[in-house]
Amino acid sequence: MSKNIFRISPGFEDIMPDEYKELVESGPYGKDLGVSDMGTFKELLEEHPLCAGCGLALSLRLILASLPNPEDTVIVGSTGCSALAFPQVAVHNIHSLFGNQNAVASGLKRALKLRFPDKVKDVVVIAGDGATADIGLDMVMQSWFRSESITTIMLDNEAYANTGGQESGMTQQGAVMNMAPKGKNFPKISLPEIAREAGCSYVASISPAQPKRLEKMVRRAILTAREVGPSYVQIFSPCPTNYKFKPQETVSRIKQHQKEGHYQTKEYINTAAQEYLASIEEGKKNE
């Protein structure tokens, strides 16, 4: 997995699709690009099948633009809406069985450490709330207990959106869904608190309404996972299709939830991670 892998094989230049050629020419590989540079480079191929106004698609774009080392990153995904955009992602990625993503990522990270002992290889799990907080919670928590060096990013759209709108553990209490017509009986799971208690060195909850802060948190989470221990980022990504609001209201809905206190931006960093991140961020300032 060197930066050369993103070159088109000789002889195939003429037959590759234009989108792919453009990706090779203007992708983020080997350049220090971030969210502020979006619009000048290409982070995934065009025309993903996610709905108009999808908060999850917006979060995914911002995450991909925030990766500190995209050419040496492997993304592990799971069943859900986000998996629909994964074929267009220009980073090595694996689709795992529903809920198994953290177990697959743990093995992959260990294998990469053995295969490339002198190289930095990031393994990032990107999955929805069903895969992280419900079906995969066992594997997710066990990976945190074992202190696996992986970053877990949950795209929290508060529903099983891909299968018609069932309630998930992350759905707000009382929310009425297509397939939960009586409203949810139980409160939303506090996964950031669970992550902290389960041994994550870095925990954050954020939304795509704050793109630059999201970038900072995703980068911090990945850097922490490299050197200190597991990290967890929860990103609130509302679903216009299942919650039946207009696509243009996604960001305003996030802000409304934040104002009402249903979703808060939080960051927890343990002492070891704090020291490590401070040394990196100070070094960058001095450059």
């Binding site: 969210v35 502020s36 979006m38 619009g39 000048t40 290409k42 982070e43 995934l44 191929l45 065009e46 025309e47 993903h48 996610l50 709905c51 108009a52 106004g53 999808c54 908060g55 698609a57 917006l58 774009r61 911002l62 267009q88 795509p208 793109p211 216009p240 207009k246 696509p247 243009q248 209201e249 996604t250 960001v251 305003s252």
Partner: protein, 63 residues
């Protein structure tokens, strides 16, 4: 009727807020020299997130 977003070049300041809020890649691109954004109308889904986010009210999706 499907309507893609359009940009009013006179109002656009090139702040890139619309690029940060677009859920689709490479639909809105920045023209660095002219300091305005350009929309790929064939690929825009017309969700209108950029219209709401634009501080200069330079974008619209209404026909």
């Amino acid at each position: 009727m499907y309507v893609a977003a359009r940009v009013d070049n006179d109002k656009c300041s090139g702040c890139k807020v619309c690029i940060f809020t677009c859920p689709d890649p490479n639909v809105i691109k920045l023209n660095k020299e002219a300091k305005i954004v350009a929309i790929n109308e064939a690929r825009c889904k017309g969700c209108g997130l950029c219209v709401v986010a634009c501080p200069k009210k330079a974008l619209n999706v209404s026909s």
